[in-house]
Amino acid sequence: MRASARRTRTGTFATVLVALHACGGAPPEAGAPPPPASPSTAELEALYRARVDSAQSRFTEADADFMTKMIGHHAQALEMAALAPARAASPEIRSLAARITTAQEAEIRLMRQWLEDRRLPSPGRAAVPAGAPATGAHADVEHTAGSPGMLTPEQMRALGTAVGGDFDRLFLSSMIAHHEGAVTMVERLFATPAAAQDASMFRIASGIQVDQRSEIARMESMLEAPADAGRSR
């Protein structure tokens, strides 16, 4: 090879190295292929979906079990809360019931989505249990017998026939027990090896623990307020 040709090749390499460096990439070793151009939208989407699918496949049986049972647990809280307006509950009980309804409806949606994303069955639609009023979508959810803190059909009936101050007190004591049950379910989950490592799982369970513990404390203070004297109807 003539000396001038070799010089040309070195000169071209130098130009390439300078140009690549100016582009912002680290200068490649001489002879290495240039780094790939930015991925296309299609490639990014494919990678995104593959990663999300992979992340979503990492869960334990305890996680799936928790989600399924908690949906049923929340559904009962919604039925209890739905009673408040018609039972002449106090404004503060009605307001509490509205907050519980909004929060737990949203959590049910998240939990269903978590299950559907992983192609797991979501608690199905079932007949409304006797004694509980029909109140829309959440009433269709089958109750999971035996979840901590849940009311029996008799207890639900009793709540459904109480009025005024009696309803308020029964609502509070029932909902406190109900919330304590949810907190117990979360604590059992966290105590299970390898459970709750999935980020959305952790966030949902952690959120339930924090929110419901706060509400328990608030409800206990509402219950401790002296019995209403002279409250009519």
Binding site: P36, R51, S54, P91, Q197, V210, G230
Partner: protein, 654 residues
């Protein structure tokens, strides 16, 4: 010759690939911008077409400089918070840390892509150190990607990771501080009397870890166990010369002794709405913490009950209405009795704390309460005031205005998992609440929420943001998840107003976390950490709501690093842009007559074109004129500020 042309061809291919940048993803080309006095109507944000990396976008009074997807290892992860240092934006992700060179904001370049899973990877920087928060069960001390399976594991990290980033390309993991609840977020704080250490306030809201994993961790009520990990924040002290020796030095119980939290009163607009309801004949209950309108459907139900009870039928009579009034009065009286007797209840943790060291204050968003905290002694933060808000579900974060005379708290209703900007969602829920601060007491002024409705499948609620240093105004840029970025002016605390935005369509058909997790101002740029799409960079564009001078004055405030939860006190150098900004504001407010505004502008232009002593004398005489006009202006303070700026400009002219 063949070799040479192959190399040349490869180079050309590479160069062309380099230049195309974001356009390759199919998003609108950089330079997307639109400027106008009033927001486009109808608002395009609710109807944007969805897409993972190619969603339709809407923009107002902003220019997008770039959108850069995450580096390969981080695609499919969840991008979270941002910190800044020099030319670098450090972006946390649940998968680890990404460091971007943003010296060319139209083409951010990933410098470091460091996989080290931890939720949520809240980040901050100080000197050569990088701090990262972790709270979940999957975080490992060794940054591995397989979370420890055991309930008790010595491999687990829940707390703060510490990296040395003297070479940003190769972060060096130098230490950890484990805490009982992990770290959901953290806040950096300097002690003005101690330049050998930096302090970190750790806010943990996750489950308490077993004592077998970290000795001393207890989850109980303080009455049951005074060492409980609940009801406190952790203070970590980091020796700058030996960061591996960082340790917890205090666990202040800033929640203690919270007696009945005052709920804030109603905003003026709410009070007006209630009077309107009263005038139109609806029942209003005058509760101790504020009047409430009884919804018509409830009063109808109650009236029907009264009719049935007296054995009647058909429509309620006037006597029935009177009976209902009596009943409602008793309900209110009962509530008054209960309120007076209710025992106290306090929160167990803070979600996030923002410090404004220049005022010796911090704002804490603490589960049901917004706290004002005295941090004049960083080791011993002390709560000085607390507010609560019946509308707030999840106190998330706090931002002060530059003067420290206002604080804004954010309600992250739904915790970032729900679509709460729907038409049907109350405007007081999932919004910002603005309080004035007077003598360390907070008073409620108003709410701000993203004005555009979002769809059911767009997770949307108020989230992280920061002040934009526009002189003379309180302006903030904020992320709203799938609601996009909203920039609003809260100078009038009871009437905040949106002045710019950017939004994308949903990431997918199902409600998913997407959109910006944070959007912050940094040295003339607005940088957004997009949960799915990577890094967005914007700049402000002038409009009738924000002038070129105001934008330039904001850009003149330069910092060498930024941790948005550690707010600096902005100081504006005296520039022609600063003076021009105040003139523009006086024009908008009518603080000076149009003729005076025009004359001031001419004076400034002439001075700017002059030099040396000519310039100085021109500025001095303009300053004197303005000072003399101040007392007759309806905005005397601003005229004086303008005069002061012009005088300072004169003094700094050669």
């Amino acid at each position: 010759m063949t070799d040479g042309s192959l190399v040349l061809a490869a180079c050309l291919v590479f160069l062309s690939g380099c230049a195309s940048g974001p356009a390759a993803t199919g998003t609108p080309a950089p330079g997307l911008a639109a400027a106008a006095a009033s927001a486009p109507s109808p608002d395009p944000r609710p109807d944007l077409a969805p897409g993972l990396f190619d969603a339709e976008e809407a923009i107002w009074n902003l220019r997008k400089l770039s959108s850069t997807p995450p580096p390969e290892d981080f695609v499919g992860g969840v991008n979270s918070d941002l910190a800044f240092m020099g030319d670098y934006a450090i972006q946390g992700s649940f998968s680890g840390i990404q460091i971007w060179d943003i010296s060319n904001p139209r083409s951010p370049r990933i410098v470091t892509s460091y996989v080290c899973p931890a939720s949520q990877s809240d980040v901050s920087v100080y000197g050569d150190l990088l701090f990262v928060s972790g709270e979940g069960f999957e975080g490992r001390l060794d940054c591995g990607t397989e979370g420890p399976r055991e309930r008790v594991s010595e491999l687990r990290l829940r707390g703060i990771r510490i990296f040395d980033i003297s070479d940003v390309r190769y972060p060096r993991y130098v230490g950890n501080v484990q805490t009982c609840r992990g770290s959901h977020t953290h806040t950096l704080l300097e002690d003005p009397d101690d330049d050998e250490h930096v302090y970190i306030y750790v806010s943990g809201s996750a489950p308490v870890r077993p004592a077998e994993e970290l000795p001393g961790c207890v989850s109980a009520l303080p009455d049951d166990d005074p060492n409980t990990a609940l009801f406190r924040i952790e203070v970590i002290r980091v020796p700058l010369e030996a960061p591996e020796q960082a340790e917890i030095v205090g666990s202040p119980r800033i929640f203690a002794g919270l007696v009945q939290a005052p709920t804030h009163g109603l905003a003026p607009t709410e009070l007006e709405a209630i009077e309107e309801a009263r005038r139109s004949g609806l029942f209003v209950l005058d509760f101790p913490d504020g009047p409430q309108v009884l919804p018509p459907e409830i009063s109808a139900q109650l009236l029907d009950t009264l009719v049935a009870r007296r054995g009647g039928s058909g429509a309620p009579t006037a006597a029935d209405s009177a009976s209902l009034g009596v009943y409602l009065d008793e309900v209110v009286a009962e509530q008054e009795r209960r309120t007076a007797e209710q025992p106290s209840f306090g929160p167990t943790q803070c979600h996030d704390i923002t410090v404004l060291p220049a005022a010796g204050l911090a704002g804490g968003a603490c589960e049901g309460y917004g706290f004002l905290i005295d941090i004049s002694d960083p080791l011993n933060p002390r709560r000085v005031d607390a507010v609560s808000d019946a509308n707030f579900a999840y106190w998330h974060s706090a931002t002060f205005n530059n003067d420290g005379t206002k604080v804004l708290f954010t309600d992250e209703w739904g915790g970032g998992g729900a679509a709460y900007c729907r038409e049907s969602d109350p405007r007081e829920w999932g919004a910002n609440a603005i309080f004035s601060i007077d003598d360390r007491r907070m008073r409620f002024q108003g709410y701000y929420k993203l004005p555009a409705a979002q769809a059911d499948n767009e997770v949307c609620v108020a989230h992280n943001g920061s002040l934009i240093p526009i002189p003379g105004r309180d302006v903030m840029v904020q992320a709203w998840y799938s609601g996009g970025i909203s920039i609003f002016d809260w100078t009038d605390a009871s009437g905040p107003v949106e002045i710019a935005y950017h939004d994308r369509g949903a990431a997918s058909e199902r409600a998913r976390m997407a959109g910006p997790w944070s959007a912050y101002w940094y040295n003339g740029l607005i940088v957004g950490s997009e949960i799915v799409r990577g890094l967005d960079v914007f700049e402000l564009v002038p409009s009738p709501l924000l002038s070129r001078n105001e934008i330039d004055a904001a850009a003149s405030v330069r910092v060498d690093h930024s941790n948005p939860q550690s707010q600096p006190r902005f100081v504006w150098p005296a520039t022609f842009a600063l003076a021009g900004a105040y003139v523009d504001q006086l024009e908008r407010s009518g603080g000076l007559a149009p003729a005076r505004i025009a004359s001031a502008r001419r004076g400034l232009d002439a001075a700017e074109r002059a030099a040396g002593s000519t310039r100085r004398e021109a500025l001095e005489s303009l300053a004197a004129e303005l000072a003399s006009e101040a007392s007759s202006s309806r905005d005397a303070a601003k005229v004086r500020t303008l005069a002061g700026t012009v005088r300072e400009l004169a003094e700094t002219s050669q």
